[in-house]
């Protein structure tokens, strides 16, 4: 995209990105407040640049990079990773047949949040945003080899975690 020329047009484009960034940040940190703040921070930083005449080759790529870095810093700073784990533990309650659909997404989310941050961000970028390896490498600032490696290990962990959760569900359902 070309550089927005004023605050109004920028806000229109940024609004389209807001939800995406929120979702990425939420899946990285498991915290809705943090996710909204992260999206706003990324957009605010982008706006600062555009407002000063800088041209961004891709608003989405730039804000996603900022969001990843900012989210990572905030998670460490606030100890939110520990909080996220605690949230996951609280949510890891048996589901009923009625909320079976919600349970599936909860299992995936909890399994993703439990991954190391690097694997987590790669998974979210790949599966939620549909980024390929090259795009992830560019946005996350790592090599394509590192992306492939992280995806491989993340996928293996998720397969194990989700398989275990599925087995647990089946035991619950049989009772």
């Amino acid at each position: 995209m070309g550089a927005p020329v004023d605050a109004e047009s920028f806000a229109r484009e940024a609004a389209d990105l807001y939800t995406r960034l929120c979702r990425v940040a939420y899946l990285l940190g498991g915290d809705r407040g943090l996710a909204e703040e992260c999206a706003q921070e990324a957009l605010a930083r982008a706006w600062q640049r555009v407002d000063r005449g800088a041209t961004l080759d891709s608003l989405e790529a730039w804000t996603t990079t900022v969001a990843l870095n900012w989210c990572r810093s905030q998670l460490r700073r606030r100890g939110a990773e520990a909080r996220a784990v605690a949230v996951v533990a609280q949510r890891a309650e048996p589901t009923t047949d009625d909320d079976r659909s919600a349970g599936l997404s909860t299992e995936v989310r909890d399994a993703v949040v439990a991954l190391p941050f690097r694997q987590r961000e790669v998974v979210v970028l790949h599966y939620l945003l549909g980024y390929d390896v090259a795009a992830i490498a560019a946005v996350a600032g790592i090599s394509t080899g590192a992306v492939k490696n992280a995806l491989f290990h993340a996928r293996a962990s998720l397969a194990e975690q989700l398989g275990r959760a599925r087995a647990g569900d089946e035991v619950e359902n049989e009772r």
Binding site: L27, V66, R77
Partner: protein, 427 residues
């Protein structure tokens, strides 16, 4: 059998489906609010509508008494330097000893000790003994700290973030923090449409005038006698001064001055914060082309206010607040019209130290020209322009350059801390 990839994809989409769906009706307004309250990383930027901040001047007085309590722990450093100035001219690496890596830090100088706080910890460094001492951590993550001569005042955010900003003071004798309460937002700012930032700008956020702590970001004044906040005097048309947002205020020894590198008038507050006056804007002949820059860093040196804007021209100017007269300074090499330029600006004595934006060595102004300081021993990688956080602080006879980061190499790893000291050459 459900395909794993599809399961992950569907799960993530479903799990985040209701996140961020109710975005603000007017995102532009939110962006303005966020932009004006966000911290500075590599440059000084004042926030909220009328004012701003900074400067640590006239910080004298010794910290009396001994510290005690569970938090206090004396850790002896290498024991070599006897005061920063005794290190000799040039750059020196400062052994950070027990100080842990921090995502960011704020500094204050008590007159004989350097206080460093961040990431849930606070330490003191005595350059005369080269010893670090662990102190009671601030009750919140500080965005700004200032030494009043007898106590340390900090403002910042709660661990969960969000408004309003918190404040507390630290008693050096007992090594204890005491809550002051939330920082109020001046009615003038509220009337202008600002609810006030949730936090202050990095390190530049609080100024000690000798009588009051002024938080011009929120438009608030703290009386250290009662530990109560009151409103900073504000122009009725405060919105007309919004251009001052792009610079940081400084204490020139008499007034809190905020002025940007443009023809717009600046503002100067009294030490009590109960009155203000306009100061002349920079003459057009000195600014050159119109609308020179949106980024201006300010620092006080020898009673003057020095403005160094981020421009391709390298223009800079100096204000004599007493007479209101502006003088052009030699052009600063290596400057750019970009965010975060100049990278850093500080003063020590009559010397002004600046970090240009082209990666060249820092410069100091003396003899009517900018002279190189020589290379810093170690300059952290500037990943993405915001991965590390730098703070420069002028202390007695030296400038402290403090860098922190948790993302120095964009890797998940140990937090980072690095400190250097610059001592100006004699003469």
């Amino acid at each position: 059998m459900i395909d794993l990839d599809q399961q992950i994809r569907d799960g993530l989409v479903d799990a985040s489906a209701d996140v961020g769906a109710s975005r603000p009706a007017d995102l532009a307004f939110r962006l303005v609010a966020i932009r004006t309250r966000r911290r500075r990383t590599t440059r000084r930027r004042a926030l909220a509508l009328a004012a701003a901040i900074v400067l640590i001047a006239g910080m004298t007085v010794a910290v009396a008494g001994s510290r005690h309590g569970d938090q206090a722990q004396v850790i002896t450093g290498p024991g070599e330097p006897k005061g920063f100035a005794d290190l000799g001219p040039g750059w020196h690496v400062l052994d950070t000893g027990p100080v842990p890596g921090m995502s960011r830090a704020v500094l204050a100088w008590t007159g004989h000790e350097l206080l460093v706080a961040g990431s849930g910890a606070m330490y003191a460094y005595d350059p005369n003994t080269a010893a670090w001492q662990r102190l009671a951590p601030p009750p919140f993550e500080p965005d700004g700290m200032v030494w009043t001569g007898e106590a340390l005042v900090a403002t910042g955010q709660s661990s969960t973030g969000g408004a309003p900003a918190l404040s507390a003071w630290w008693d050096p004798t007992g090594d204890q923090w005491h809550d002051i309460g939330t920082v109020p937002v001046a009615p003038g700012l509220v009337a202008a449409g600002s609810r006030g930032p949730t936090s202050n700008d990095y390190g530049d956020s609080l100024v000690w005038t000798g009588q009051r702590v002024i938080d011009s970001t929120h438009g608030a004044v703290l009386d250290p006698g009662s530990w109560r906040w009151s409103d900073l005097a504000m122009p009725s048309n405060v919105i007309a001064y919004s251009g001052l947002l792009t610079t940081n205020p400084v204490w020139d020894g008499h007034e809190l001055v905020i002025s940007t590198f443009g023809t717009q008038a600046g503002l100067a507050w009294s030490a009590l914060g109960t009155s203000y006056r306009e100061v002349p804007g920079v003459p057009a002949a000195l600014t050159g082309e119109a609308g020179v820059s949106r980024n201006t860093s300010a620092v006080a040196a020898a009673g003057s206010v020095v403005l160094v804007p981020g421009t391709d021209t390298g223009r800079a100017a100096e204000l004599d607040p007493t007479t209101g007269s502006w003088t052009a300074l030699p052009r600063v090499p290596g400057m750019r019209a970009s965010e975060g330029c100049p990278k850093e600006l500080a003063s020590v004595g009559e010397d002004v130290l600046v970090a240009p934006c082209d990666g060249s060595d820092p410069l100091f102004l003396r003899g009517g020209r900018w002279q190189t300081t020589g290379p810093q021993p170690d300059v952290p990688a500037d990943k993405n322009g915001f991965a590390w956080h730098g703070v420069w602080l002028g202390v007695d006879g030296a400038v402290i350059a403090w860098s922190t980061s948790t993302d120095a190499a964009n890797e998940v790893g140990a937090p980072y801390v690095h400190a250097e000291v610059w001592v100006p050459p004699a003469g």
